[in-house]
């Protein structure tokens, strides 16, 4: 249908985007892989001009065998897993609730979605100071009101605090996507089952949940990719202390704080591989959608 002329024109129109992204991907990636095989400590006099020593897989081995590696994997899994569980479960419940008829639906929807638009540094600092501060925070006031001792959230329950903050940011995303999916559910099917006398739970379990399956998978995959690289929320609250040093934050510290570029780059390669494994699953779903 398309002429040869328009085909070559189309290729030309695609070129800038493809070339830019290709450069954006390949150049830094090649450099990271290159550095990961080198001894590169700028503070100790290593420099690109004088050439770097080849150290083989030493950085890769050292990154994994360092005493902070496994705790960081644990922190990452706890935070990503915790946020996923909370946002998906609450997201489903909220989506079902918002789908019911009630007064002020539009306004409540706006209230629920709002946290997603708050920049990460603001939400982290507002939660840390205004909500979780052990003296002046809202939680401290609440705890005292009920006669309990206020909690020092950021030091005594640091991982839980980060999970709470990040869940608050991502709950709107999960809710919005699941709500969109619920609204596409065939209401006749639901009404039929309701007339047949199927109890609420059965209706939820056998009709709503299977229908949401694809949307839930998409929420989980997209959130995982973003959650693996959360940075600002930790940067402005605990700075990676009290067990909140995730893999991303550990790599950041290796590169920026201890200026061990080789080691940090090896960590970076691990992170890239990990993200790609998850991305592969997401691409398969999105790709299938393209064929329709």
């Amino acid at each position: 249908m398309a002429t040869r002329h328009s085909r070559s024109a189309a290729r030309l129109m695609m070129a800038p985007a493809v070339i830019l992204l290709l450069g954006w991907m390949l150049v830094p990636l090649t450099m990271t892989v290159y550095f990961s095989f080198k001894r590169y400590l700028p503070m100790r006099g290593d420099s690109l001009e004088r050439g770097l020593d080849w150290v083989g897989f030493e950085n890769y081995v050292r990154f994994i065998s360092s005493s902070s590696f496994w705790p960081s994997v644990q922190a990452t899994l706890l935070i990503v897993g915790g946020v996923l569980v909370i946002t998906v479960i609450l997201g489903i419940l909220l989506a079902i609730l918002l789908d019911q008829p009630f007064w002020g639906q539009g306004v409540v929807r706006i209230l629920v979605i709002a946290p997603f638009f708050v920049m990460p540094t603001v939400s982290a600092l507002v939660w840390k100071n205004m909500m979780m501060d052990p003296v002046n925070g809202m939680f401290a006031h609440l705890w005292r009101f009920f006669g309990a001792e206020p909690v020092s959230w950021m030091s005594d329950a640091s991982v839980q605090s980060i999970i709470l903050i990040v869940s608050w940011q991502w709950l709107p995303f999960a809710t919005l996507i699941l709500l969109t999916a619920i609204q596409s559910l065939d209401s006749e099917q639901l009404e039929a089952s309701e007339m047949d006398g199927a109890p609420v739970l059965a209706r939820f379990w056998f009709i709503v949940l299977p229908h949401l399956g694809r949307a839930i998978t998409i929420v989980i995959l997209i959130q995982t990719i973003f959650l693996l690289s959360i940075f600002a929320e930790i940067f402005v609250t605990t700075g990676g202390s009290f067990g909140t040093r995730t893999l991303t934050y550990l790599i950041f510290q290796r590169v920026v704080d201890s200026q061990n570029i080789g080691l940090g780059s090896a960590g970076g390669v691990y992170a890239i591989i990990l993200a790609n494994i998850i991305a592969l699953f997401l691409m398969r779903i999105v790709g299938k959608n393209l064929d329709r």
Partner: protein
Amino acid sequence: MARAVSTRRKIITTAVAWAIGLTIFFPIFWTILTSFKTEAQAINNPPLFWGFDFTLENYAVVQERSDYMRFLWNSVIIAGGSTFLGILVAVPAAWSMAFVPSRRTKDILLWMLSTKMLPAVGVLYPISLIFVQFNLLDTRIGLTLVLMLINLPIIVWMLYTYFREIPIDILEAARMDGAGLRQEILYVLTPMAIPGIASTVLLNIILAWNEAFWTLNLTAASAAPLTAFIASYSSPEGLFYAKLSAASTMAIAPILILGWFSQKQLVRGLTFGAVK
């Protein structure tokens, strides 16, 4: 009788939904409220919901002490500039993929998506090295370029899903009438594509405005946008709740308003068209 039951149910649903909605919104509400208090009242025990002396002083102090407008201007330039450049590059690409698809179109789209998933921290050092080399560190143009590149896949994808909904028959009719490629784009496609482009612009401004890895790591004093400005409150001195609140309110207000307009596009854009 059935109607009475449903009214009762509606009342209960309304109460529950509003309670949950207000709880989720509370931190934002509390921040906005605190921004109008004096520092002493901001940490009053019990917390003050009403009866405090309404003041705009915090807003003046934040502007005076840290030149808030400069950070705001940086955010506007960086978010707006990266969006504009991204659209410029993405429109032709998405257009050709939607209307002149080839066997490889799907692979190219998926590959673009995969670049979005590279963890930023993995390429932090190379990018800063390149920035130093080209004198881009702490410049608005450098950050604009990076944000354009990280959001380009989302822009292309969103435009692609919108463009694909434009009926191809209209194009064919235009071609039959002898419209050339240029006329086709200018007079037929552009008017139909405007709504899709507008929503893409909206979502991308929000994403760029809130980006908080590169903005924190590639800027210092002169090009820092609001994300970095707020981060400077993480090591506060003395009483600062009301000022933090005022600064936060100003940083999120424009995007909250834009965001509420773009709820629907948000789903489409962030799921790469997989959920509509």
